[in-house]
């Protein structure tokens, strides 16, 4: 099992098993958008950062740890 640590800023870290979110259709690798879905967020409302930089949501997950920033606009 490949585990990715998803740190949603302001929340506790979540451990996500890639095989579980792949939908049982290997060898397709889940994308960062799938990772967001696993923590109940969508690419519209959040961005995935790897080492402080955003990664395209349609790219296969390669990192072992990601940070998720929610996009908020209120002022």
């Amino acid at each position: 099992m490949t585990t990715v640590t998803v740190s949603v800023a302001g929340e506790d870290d979540r451990e996500v098993e890639l095989e579980e979110i792949a939908g049982g259709a290997p060898p397709e690798t889940p994308t960062y958008a799938d990772l967001l879905s696993a923590v109940e967020l969508s690419p519209h409302e959040a961005t995935v950062l790897v080492e402080g930089r955003p990664v395209p949501e349609d790219r296969p997950v390669e990192a072992e740890r990601v940070t998720v920033l929610r996009l908020i606009k209120g002022g």
Partner: protein, 274 residues
């Protein structure tokens, strides 16, 4: 003290600044010579404007095209019951005059647009984004990134706040490094539909004012390269490291945006296709 050119009233007003080594008379002079533009006179703008004025930031621009409504008063503490229906910039300017008559206020009852931004933001030492919509946020970012003006960013949602500072010195990230395009309209909820804890913008806006004052003083460590998140429910803060994005459309290696005129500040705030 004579270099500060303050009269007795001024010395008394800023005494708690002047006695600190990190501020002193020179630092107070830097604040009095400082020019900060605050975009938005709502929840975030209320504490920002008041703390900058009280600190003695000599020139404060305030931009907002809204008028005060009763539903604002739960969090927009620069306005009061007697201001209902008045332009927010007028109410805010009046409060500044009462707080500190040393301050010059440039009150602009208008919306920040690509057409008005050069006149309203150019020349500022720091811009504080206290707006409540993506069009203004992306415009502030793009103008400040292109012109090299430090930008304090703050945003709030329900019980959650974010703040960071983009120094725009060619080294750190900008807002588009994190969020290259705005989300599709309607996909991110706003405070009007989801609510917001009234005291939340006080906390986040005060952090923004702190960053602006520190920048003018040239002391401390700014939130450049770090994004601070605040969870009011758990009363916890977290700092996320953020880095410059080589693919950023405004400050990356091959930027698509070279002028704010290139961008359509509606929808996803992108460069329109030819």
């Amino acid at each position: 003290m004579t270099d500060l050119a303050l009269d007795a009233t001024g010395l008394e007003r800023y005494a708690r600044h002047v006695i600190m080594d990190e501020v002193g008379p020179e630092g107070q002079k830097r604040l009095l010579d400082g020019h900060v533009v605050v975009v938005g006179a709502g929840g975030l703008g209320s504490p920002v404007v008041q703390y900058l004025a009280a600190a003695g930031v000599g020139r404060i621009g305030i931009i907002d095209d809204d008028r005060v409504e009763r539903s604002n008063l739960q969090r927009q503490v620069i306005h009061g019951e007697g201001d209902l229906g008045r332009p927010k910039v007028e109410s805010a300017a009046e409060r500044v005059a009462d707080l500190n008559p040393d301050i010059r206020v440039d009150a602009h009852e208008t919306r920040l647009t690509a057409e008005t931004a050069p006149d309203l933001l150019a020349g500022a030492d720091v811009v504080v984004d206290a707006s409540d919509n993506f069009a203004t946020r992306y415009l502030c970012n793009d103008f400040c990134a292109l012109e090299g003006i430090p930008l304090s960013h703050g945003a709030i949602y329900r019980f959650e706040g974010q703040a960071t500072t983009f120094e725009n010195d060619g080294e750190g990230p900008c807002y588009r490094c994190l969020f290259p395009d705005a989300p599709e309209p309607g996909t991110v909820p706003n405070c009007a539909t989801t609510g917001v804890l009234g005291v939340l913008p006080g906390t986040v806006g005060t952090i923004q004012a702190t960053e602006a004052v520190k920048y003018l003083l040239g002391v401390g460590d700014l939130l450049d390269g770090r994004l601070l998140t605040y969870d009011a429910m758990g009363l916890s803060f977290e700092t996320v490291e953020i880095a410059r994005n080589p693919a950023c459309p405004v400050c990356g290696e091959d930027p698509e945006i070279e002028s704010i005129r290139d961008v359509s500040y509606e929808g996803r705030c992108t460069v329109p296709a030819d």
